[in-house]
Amino acid sequence: MLTIKWISLILVFITTFFIGILISKKYKKRVEELNEMKNALSIFKTKIKYTYEPIPEIFNQISKISTNNIKNIFKKSTDNMKKTNAGTAWSKALDESSTYLTYEDIEVLKGLGKLLGKTDIQGQISEIDLTSNFLDVQIAKARNEQDKNEKMYKTLGAIIGLVFVIVLI
Amino acid sequence: MDIIKIIGIGLTSLIIIIVLRQYKPEFAVYVSLIAGALILFLVIDKIAGIISLLTELSNKSNMNSQFLVILLKITGIAFLTEFAVSICKDSGESAIANKIDLGGKVIIIAISIPIISALLETIINVLPA
């Protein structure tokens, strides 16, 4: 009986500890994804500028070099582009894929889709620049939040677990 | 070896209170409360022995057992009021401590009225009319 009690107490502690880590990871992942998105956009920009490949082709290539969630976004929008125009495909892909990005980030990225494939190359490049500037702001914000919250949630998880255990002993 | 237990509890709680007071003074009060209760619990067994001895003696000497009961009650009230008063004083609330003290005293006097009246009766009986 006593061993069961101890094992369950340890399980409670581990659970809260990992919940804390999970929540804190969200902030780290957001910064990572935003950075990756920015890199992807700069690749997109250079490709548009120099290679004149069609957008689905470029997106396909980007999805090959990106990782995880960002990869999914580009892949989905490539798939969607077979059915609709580039702008709706892009925003649909953003809506559908599950990421650590916040609603605000998604809205900033969706701004890119409005002009995608509608203007000439110069217009698109300036649009990409604009989005990437917005992304810089979002990255700074996300960094700030990461500094503030990441450590807090980790400690919070561990300490709340400890409090539970001590109260239940 | 109960005295060692009591001293141990006292010193341990002292250190805990000193550490806690820096961070959260509210919890220090709880620790001192529990420490006081613990020590009282340790002592209470001995008191039970003393009380049984006293009742036995009073039975043997054919004393009025009513007085002994009152005496015990007064001791109990003094015990509890002292407990509460010292905790209030520790937390820096001497005003409340004084009120509890006053309440304890008044109740003790109220309880001991039979003894006082018996005493007065005896004196009147002894005095020449």
Binding site: I169 | I34, A35
Partner: protein, 64 residues
């Protein structure tokens, strides 16, 4: 009723203090306050039980 309760209260007190610090550092003063309050209530429920047993024992002993 034993000395473990003392250590338990001390541990909860220290942990609540750490929680308070962490939350204040993260700029969440109101939540820090709430955790302190919750800790106090938890400890109070533990303490009240012991105090009531103490009073009950004294009452039966001195037949008050």
């Amino acid at each position: 009723m034993d000395i473990n309760l003392l250590f338990k209260i001390a541990a909860i007190g220290i942990l609540v203090a750490v929680l308070h610090q962490v939350l204040v550092r993260a700029g969440r003063e109101d939540q820090a306050m709430m955790t302190t309050l919750a800790g106090l209530v938890i400890v109070l429920t533990m303490v009240i039980k012991e105090i009531s047993t103490l009073f009950e024992t004294v009452r039966t002993l001195f037949n008050l």
